[in-house]
Amino acid sequence: MTPPLLPMRHAPSALLANGSEQHAIELRNLCVCYHGKRAFRDISLAVPRGEITALIGPSGCGKSSLLQCLNRLTDMIPGCHVEGDVRVEGLNIMDPAQDLLTLRRHVGMLFQRPNPFPLSIRRNIELPLREHGVIRKPELRARIEQVLDDVGLWDEVRDRLDSPALALSGGQQQRLCLARALALAPRVLLMDEPCSALDPLASAKIEELIVRLRGQYTVLIVTHNLGQARRIADHTGFFWTEDGIGRLVEFAPTHTLFNQPQDPRTRAYIRGERG
């Protein structure tokens, strides 16, 4: 039997499992290899609960791979091997006995390219909800309306819930994907450059939504857009590649990282001198 869903908003922190007080995600000595070649190594990081944390740095330094470790999407990549200690809400998710379906229900993800299913708008949200045990019609309907409203899509699509999701614009698709993830009331939301495939207007809308998630969800976002990190993130981590291996150079409150970077590489990167 699937556990019942948590209430959608303001999951009281008492319900959050026993882990550390302020950290939703804790990584210790995380390494990822593809076919024996290291993508990054020895990443240790603690992501504060209920805040927005951005990961910045040049492409290919393992930021996306790191996100995929957190919901074990890495399990689907051929030749990918993960080592180290990852705790999400105190749970050791690298435990082979960890049930992936439950993990992924609690850790939502938004991808670089919007990926709604080739189904109707309604079915896109309904399908995962049904999978996790919400089957009563009125409840489904209420939840679909609520999450679509949360992402500002309800007014745009209320009359065409049964038309194909792929007919929506890119920005709308991405918001639908966000609504779909929110419907499961996850504790953590992973976002892999969620705006990079969108035009500036749609991108601004998504950004606005992410900011509104602050306090309710722990958001970990990978972005190439330094301005975006600066605008929305509470904490920012800077990744850099050396000899083809990514590492976390610096992790600090966003304001500090951008204004008083400790590491010369960070300084060069945020000034646009390198990367």
């Binding site: 919901n71 999407l73 689907m76 993800m109 698709q173 499961l184």
Partner: protein
């Protein structure tokens, strides 16, 4: 043809002569192939089309097939085809899903199955006939029957079927697999609600290819489903497939050539229909299936 390949005329002397000769030779090969095709097609249509009357399709064969129609033959052919698909499709689809969707967790099994199917695809059909006779007819006691013939064909089309069904599944973009996984959806639900419906046109194309292969086969049926021309009463009866009918009429029945032409055209039309169907489905799919963004 590509613009950036040098045109033949510009070069001089010996190179130019070699160039012209090569072009001439390539054209010649194409002409020979086209003529051969034209000859075969014209001959079959010329002699066969006039036989295609409703009576030819719906009457029972008489005088060893010299006269009458193809009724029992067509029924046997369709029965063998149905048995073949009923056996091959579930196994083929299961194997294709495993190969396409579990390539990471079941890499060893996948490699074994793939290698084995590659070899199986090259095994001559007469060998399938021998195996079918030994295994289905004798060992399992089915005798010469539609069932034995259909199952033998199922073994034979399995490699082609699995490969094309797997191809159909692989054409579904990974975006949807990732989205479903990230939402904590079970593999079963992902397949049922998203991947299989999205891959359906590709799967149908695979199915149709398998059907074509089964319809065209003769040697594997010679000593599994047999020659009996009567209308089959059950799947345990022997029945004569269309391809065997063509063989028998032309080799063993003096004066059977006329009806053999008719039967050959019926067989070719069935194959052509099946292929056009696959083509139409594939084309329709490309038009209506927008990828994600």
């Amino acid at each position: 043809m590509d613009d950036w390949l040098p045109a033949s005329g510009r070069t001089r002397g010996r190179t130019a002569a070699a160039d012209r000769t090569a072009a001439g030779a390539a054209w010649m090969c194409a002409v020979i192939v086209t003529l051969a095709f034209g000859w075969i097609a014209a001959d079959l249509l010329w002699h066969g089309l006039s036989r295609l009357t409703p009576g030819f399709l719906f009457e029972m064969p008489q005088l060893s097939g010299r006269a009458g129609g193809l009724a029992s033959i067509i029924v046997s052919t369709l029965a063998i085809l149905a048995i073949c698909l009923a056996a091959a499709v579930p196994i083929g689809l299961g194997a294709a899903i495993l190969l396409a969707e579990y390539s990471r967790s079941d890499r060893r099994l996948g490699r074994f199955v793939r290698r084995s199917l590659d070899v199986l695809a090259g095994v001559p059909s007469i060998v399938f006939g021998l195996f079918g006779n030994a295994f289905f007819c004798v060992y399992l006691g089915m005798g010469f029957s539609l069932l034995a013939g259909g199952l033998t064909l199922a073994c034979m089309v399995l490699p082609l079927l699995i490969r094309s069904l797997e191809q159909g599944l692989r054409e579904v973009p990974d975006d949807w697999r990732n989205a479903a996984a990230a939402l904590g959806m079970s593999k079963a639900a992902t397949l049922r609600s998203i991947l299989l419906p999205a891959a359906l046109p590709g799967l149908v194309v695979g199915l149709v290819l398998g059907m074509g292969r089964a319809l065209a086969e003769t040697a594997a049926l010679l000593f599994t489903s047999g020659y009996v021309m009567r209308m089959p009463g059950s799947v345990m009866d022997s029945g004569r497939a269309l391809s065997i009918h063509i063989f028998d009429l032309s080799m063993n029945v003096p004066g059977g050539t006329g009806n053999a032409y008719g039967a050959a055209v019926v067989l070719l039309l069935m194959l052509l229909t099946v292929n056009l169907l696959a083509l139409a489905i594939a084309r329709r799919w490309q038009l209506t299936q927008p990828g994600p963004l």
